[in-house]
């Protein structure tokens, strides 16, 4: 029913992104939830007395009464999918998908500028250490001997390696915008900053002030700085990349609408990074969410409630909410039991009939497609010179044979309620693709007979920017045994439960290869 009341146990996270509400998002959410329930034909006026939920981010919620008439206002959780990360990004790639970046650019650009400043500071510091003595007191400096010049080469190459390493680790297009700051990156940035600042302090006090003449010592100091930076980079690799590789938790991900479940093994991650990994796996493994398949169960549920109308004559109740809810549900269950229930019978025959229809349409479709494919033949090289007349490229060939299978394909898609997933243009494109790559009719049909993962379909189904992380624990805290959180998309959500992978104790048993000996089992009978 109320999809929101099921989350009464969870508190919506709040706080940091309050300032970055995307108002466009909110109104879209409102509209969607309103229209969703407008479509349900018969809705009984059940009075929900939800427990006091700390729903945050919406001022209207705090004034929520027992009569839950304006529940439409209270459904919005703050969508915190801001593009916030501390990575040193390629500036060019930021400007993709402008429509969703309203109001967030300042946060993103702030982190980007911070990262750029830090990077410049890190790279220019050793060079500054080396150059400043020459600029400030060139006459007092001792001549740089061979060892010192050798150190120059060392500094140069180490800086080059550091540059490449930083490019490899940090110069990547951000793959996601997480709700909270990436704790390890922030820690590393702070560490680097502190480190460089302390080196500068030492340099300023001991070398600049006293105008040290020992240039070799200064060069060695710069080399030690670069060495330490390389070690910090090693620390960054370990913290950011290596630590979560060893699997420690097994998460069970269930889609709330149809119960499709998968299990994944994750390492020690914070909840938001685990959510990111799960969503990326969702796009690969779960079949596409098709709301049209759920209408049958919804109509059944509506029919159940249609017969019963329950009114609360006591007004906004002061009685214990649970007591009220109990008596309501008991009354409804009793009434339902008394009614003669033939729903299971209907369901059974309906499903059998649907099965039959689908199979018939599928048979017709397969035959039509196979026949259509026989009209096309790949032209060989020699023939190209002989008959230049009727030559078609793949798109034209697809358009030529499409009409003969269009009708049966359309009927099949309608029966399996997939017709809105595939547009005619996309079907023709797929057909051209299959023809180009010498695929059989069966290969062409595979994507229509079985629902594939979400990425297979058009971009409008991806909904990659609509994910919300709903969690009781802080999203930057690590995964723990028994952690439960939700990943909400617009009209479905993924329920994630965590279990620790058990500690495995493996013992050894040695078998001597010579110990494999066998005897015959005899049972003979002799007559005497």
């Amino acid at each position: 029913m109320d999809t929101e009341s099921t989350y009464s146990g969870y508190s919506y996270y709040s706080g940091r992104s309050r300032g970055s509400h995307r108002h466009g998002e909110r109104s879209r959410d409102h509209h969607k939830s309103r229209s969703k329930d407008g479509s349900r034909s018969e809705k009984s006026v059940t009075i929900n007395a939800p427990p006091a939920e700390p729903l945050l981010g919406d001022s209207s919620v705090l004034g929520e009464e027992v009569q839950d008439d304006n529940w439409g206002e209270t459904t919005t959780a703050v969508t915190g999918t801001s593009e916030h990360s501390l990575s040193q990004e390629d500036i060019v790639r930021i400007t993709k998908d402008l429509e969703d970046s309203v109001g967030l650019d300042c946060r993103r650009y702030f982190s980007l500028t911070l990262a750029v400043v830090l990077g410049l500071l890190v790279f220019l510091t050793p060079l500054a250490f080396l150059a400043l003595p020459h600029l400030l007191w060139p006459d007092k400096l001792l001549v740089c001997g061979t060892a010192c010049e050798g150190l120059f080469i060392s500094v140069a190459f180490k800086l080059l390696i550091l540059l490449l390493a930083v490019w490899a680790l940090f110069f990547r297009a951000p793959r996601a915008g997480l709700p909270r700051v990436f704790v390890f990156r922030a820690l590393l940035a702070v560490l680097v900053l502190l480190f460089v600042v302390s080196y500068w302090l030492f340099y300023g006090v001991r070398i600049l002030d006293s105008q040290d003449e020992n240039y070799q010592g200064i060069v060695q100091y710069a080399v030690s700085l670069v060495d330490a930076l390389l070690f910090i980079h090693y620390l960054a690799i370990v913290l950011l990349e290596l630590r979560q590789l060893q699997p420690a938790f097994s998460v069970c991900v269930t889609r709330s609408t149809d119960g499709e479940t998968r299990h994944y093994n994750l390492g020690q991650l914070s909840i938001q990074r685990a959510a990111l990994a799960i969503i990326e796996n969702y796009y690969r493994d779960f079949s596409v969410h098709n709301p049209a398949l759920l209408t049958a169960s919804k109509s059944r549920a509506a029919k159940h409630l249609a017969g019963l109308k329950v009114y609360n004559v006591d007004g906004p109740g002061n009685n214990a909410a649970t007591g009220l809810a109990h008596s309501q549900s008991r009354a409804m269950i009793a009434a339902a039991a008394r009614r003669r229930d033939t729903n299971h019978n209907e369901l059974y025959y309906e499903e059998a009939e649907h099965e039959r229809r689908v199979r018939k349409r599928k048979a017709r479709l397969v035959v039509a497609v196979e026949e259509a494919f026989t009209h096309i033949k790949r032209m060989q090289e020699e023939e190209q010179k002989k008959a230049p007349g009727d030559v078609m490229d793949p798109r034209e060939a697809a358009q030529a044979i499409f009409p003969s299978m269009a009708r049966s394909l359309q009927k099949y898609l309608r029966t399996t309620r997939q017709q809105h997933c595939h547009s005619m243009e996309s079907i023709q494109q797929h057909l051209a693709f299959c023809i180009t790559n010498n695929m059989t009719p069966k290969a062409f049909l595979e994507s229509y007979l079985n629902p594939g993962p979400t990425l297979q379909y058009g971009r409008e189904r991806w909904l990659a920017r609509q994910w919300t992380l709903v969690s009781e624990a802080s999203v930057t805290s690590g995964l723990k045994e028994g952690a439960i959180f939700l990943l909400k998309c617009i009209d479905f959500s993924l329920v994630v439960t965590t279990k620790r992978i058990p500690y495995i104790q493996l013992s050894e048993e040695f078998i001597d290869p010579k110990s494999h000996k066998f005897v015959l089992r005899l049972q003979s009978e002799t007559s005497v």
Partner: protein, 127 residues
Amino acid sequence: MSSFLSQLHFQLSCALQQRIEICKLRQGEHLILGFSIGGGIDQDPGQNPFSEDKSDKGIYVTRVTPGGPAEVAGLMMGDKVMQVNGWDMTMVTHDQARKRLTKKNEDIVRLLVTRKSLEQAVRHSMM
């Protein structure tokens, strides 16, 4: 009273085991006894259908030829052969048992057998 009891005891211990005397029959150049044996310490005791204890590796009578000397002497299928002419048969291999029964210079074999039904019959009569 005590003599009665001792007599009963004697009967018990004798009745649990039966002595059977079989005269071999000459058929052509073979002397046959008219039954088949199974079991032995080199055999698989689990497949013996007649034994109560499936780890019993003794020699059992698996078949009695109808009208043969063994049937005439009163040997029954399922009997466990304990001794043959004084030779112990509880710890012998299958081949040794066969040899002890088919010695060419003996015309008569005296078997000591035990039978499940005997024990049951005695127990019933005791009650």
